[in-house]
Symmetry: D2
């Protein structure tokens, strides 16, 4: 069998190696979730079951891939940040994004019956996700990335809350609700919710307003882990002993995954970030 005659086609594969020692953020987005959420009757403006399913799925992914330091989810998207030293799959981009997309999809479908016990998935509309990888050379940018997503969550959720309150509570058509909100700012929407419907937006569920942050609390598994170090002082991976690398890997595997629905834009959240990302 002339195997070797065809093997040259392998030389057309391109490596696609992500720059070493750089944070990798992998963001997954639900494909066609506008139609998907309509098909499966997601509640408006937020379906708690759907968000909890996303969070449970993300935890499974983090459980299986210890290099994920933290993750942030809102709506039908989830962003995972990998430690800057991560060498998973030799940092091959295609392998990373496809594996995250596949693993997330697998757990989402598997967990579905727990969160939607009365709704069976239909083979003609299964949940699927695409993924992309973005590199950030410093922790500052990683923080700004997560802030960007939470700001996006806030803007969308405030709009959606006002919109669906007008529709479901105020009896407006979707078209009229859209018109009513056109040109309004955040203050206007808060005021509208409060004055017309007695809703204090800040009392809405934190998970809806803030999204969900998952962090791997490495210190919970390894009390000797340095809390106060910052990324500048941490020795590079190649300077660590093999034993130390293995000890840290084990600590990550055992570490608790903590779920939070808090502000991640201000400084407070990032004060202890060395506990989970470094």
């Amino acid at each position: 069998m002339a195997k070797s005659r065809f093997e040259y086609v392998r030389t057309y594969e391109q490596d696609g190696i992500l720059l070493p020692n750089t944070y990798v953020v992998i963001r997954l987005d639900g494909r066609g979730f506008h139609r998907f959420s309509a098909r499966y009757n997601f509640r408006k403006p937020n379906d708690k079951r759907a968000l909890c399913l996303m969070n449970a799925t993300a935890k499974q992914v983090m459980g299986q891939i210890p290099d994920v330091a933290g993750a942030y989810g809102q709506s039908d998207e989830y962003s995972f940040v990998l430690r800057r030293e991560c060498r998973l799959f030799d940092r091959r981009e295609a392998k990373l994004v496809s594996t995250f997309a596949s693993t997330f999809t697998a757990h989402y479908q598997f967990l579905w019956p727990q969160y939607f016990p009365d709704t069976r998935l239909d083979g003609s509309m299964l949940p699927s996700f695409d993924a992309r990888a973005v590199l950030y050379p410093s922790l500052r940018e990683v923080r700004d990335y997560f802030s960007w997503r939470q700001a996006d969550c806030h803007i969308n959720n405030l709009y959606n809350t006002a919109f669906w309150t007008l529709v479901l509570g105020g009896g407006l058509s979707e078209h009229d609700a859209e018109q009513a909100l056109m040109g309004t700012n955040s203050g206007d929407k808060n005021e509208l919710l409060f004055s017309r419907f007695g809703i204090n937006y800040n009392n809405e569920e934190a998970m809806f307003r803030k999204g969900t942050m998952l962090v791997r609390d490495v210190c919970s598994a390894d009390p000797s882990s340095p809390e106060s170090t910052d990324s500048r002082d941490v020795p590079d991976q190649h300077e660590k002993s093999k034993r130390q690398v293995e000890r840290e890997e084990k600590a990550r595997r055992k570490a608790e995954i903590v779920e939070m629905h808090v502000d991640i834009i201000g400084d407070e959240f990032w004060k202890n970030s060395a506990r989970w990302i470094s």
Copy 2:
């Protein structure tokens, strides 16, 4: 909400656009299927249920993505070739590989109970797939790519058939079977199967020996489609009228997907390749 302050992080995203007018092959590989197949008791050397599940899954993917012209599967891998004119997702590599991996995963899990009715999937070991994209500028290389995978199928399947026949039929330990086959060529393995076990390898199921080729028979849906043209004469996408592009797109959606277990290395199979790839 200071959204704009964080938006700069988007500028770190890289396009990753695949070269236009070039065939894209997307190959999916089962992740950890050695352990996976052991966990779910796949039959050796081939589990027909598992292969048929792969094929059924691949057909679902082809059904949803009309730009797939054909696909070849064997063992736990599947390769999809996209038309060279394909503009799906603006040819963004990450979006393509993650979507294929996710969609394949979703259908594989969904179809699982049809093929393994007595075996429930276990949340700690769900099937998942990684994916990569490779570009080929000419049909010659696409053909050689598929030949490469079928040659690989042949070599592995002949080995596995001999190995498991020695173990299951001959009572050898796995270690002894490995030793017995060390250094043997194809002829030796054929001879061993025939003389010691009365097995004519060529009578084994074609799907095991040849793998599975799926092609979208565009002509079945559009009899006016040119059969005899070759890639050189076909006008470029940008020279086609919009109406023609839409008509072809519709034909692809309606086209039958044909499953074959035949030799794809020789010329015969490629004689009518203009029917499905151009």
Copy 3:
């Protein structure tokens, strides 16, 4: 000396390999040639010395790099097309573009005194060029690429000829000449040149109107070279014998470089393209 301690920085280098078996076009552009041409008093609208210097430089580059099949130059730019089989520098993009830019720059400066014997270069304004590489999977696109550049040459040269005729022959200010040409099409400019200045644009020098095409006439060096084959039938590089590859390489080295100032948009020029590109 702890050399190995630092060697890890090499792992940050990325390959940047250009897709095999694909035409590579490398386009060089003069850096800041608007100021450069003013500084060295280039004649308007065309300085024949400057164009001939570009052409002579390009021939030197082609002479040194046999993988260049042909080149097209106009104004301060030159495009080189490499054979699709070219393996120069393992097809590393950075090495290719930097080497072309450097080699072109070296010869341009070296040849300068032959074309501008009365004008010495000034160290504060030396000629330099940037370069980029673009991949084209088929000959059709290579042809369209060259057509694109010649169409660009035509449009710019017709405009510049009309503009400078108005300024130098008609006594208009540059501002007034610009106004006079605003909104005119090709026919208007031809008419203006003819009716007001008695200039038949088609009688202008072909090098100005058509730019310069350089082709390596391989057949001149190897009469046995196939003239009638097209790219589809040519065996792939990996199917050629080593001796044949070497013979072809030698023929390219010895082949005459032919300079032409002709239409390269129509079919005529491409009829014999197998003589120089395949």
Copy 4:
């Protein structure tokens, strides 16, 4: 003129944008300088004229491109590091490497007569350079990069000094000198030079042993520039006012370029690195 019909070929260009906020090191290497140095009779083991020509050329490049923070040269290579905030050419890789290669080549040839007044360049062997770009996300890696090049300089120069001393001073053939040095370590070579030829290697010229470091002393041009800040505290480019960015740009243009032949592996050199790189 059907310009638009061909314009589609532009869509095949790929961006090749280097990751923002990351140090870019551009390394130039002389092409075929083994033959080049033989052709122009460079002195062995070091030709001071040739090294000074490299340094003078690098200074011209730094003078023209203010984003270069520093550079290190040895033998026929030069490495330039760009500020992490650098946005030159929108960080397009091909444009960066080709421009550096071209500009360096232009000045090298132009300055040649100053350093080799008695040796005219020959058109059949002009000096040229290739270039590559490597990204480093942190200052630690930039430092290690320069250390790697200086360690390389040390090892090669000690070897070459011993080799040519054996040949030129000891009368050995090149073959015998090579044999004599095989398997020797640094101590052996030092000992050999001292005991047999009375040469204390540490008294050799620092430029030969240490190579040449060029830094842009920004503080010399802007005394208010922060000396003590480190990269972590410096606000990101996008947080700086436009006026501040322009002031810094101006300071870089005016800043003195300082040449040093010192150890750049130890901490001492890097203590004041905020003066030139941040």
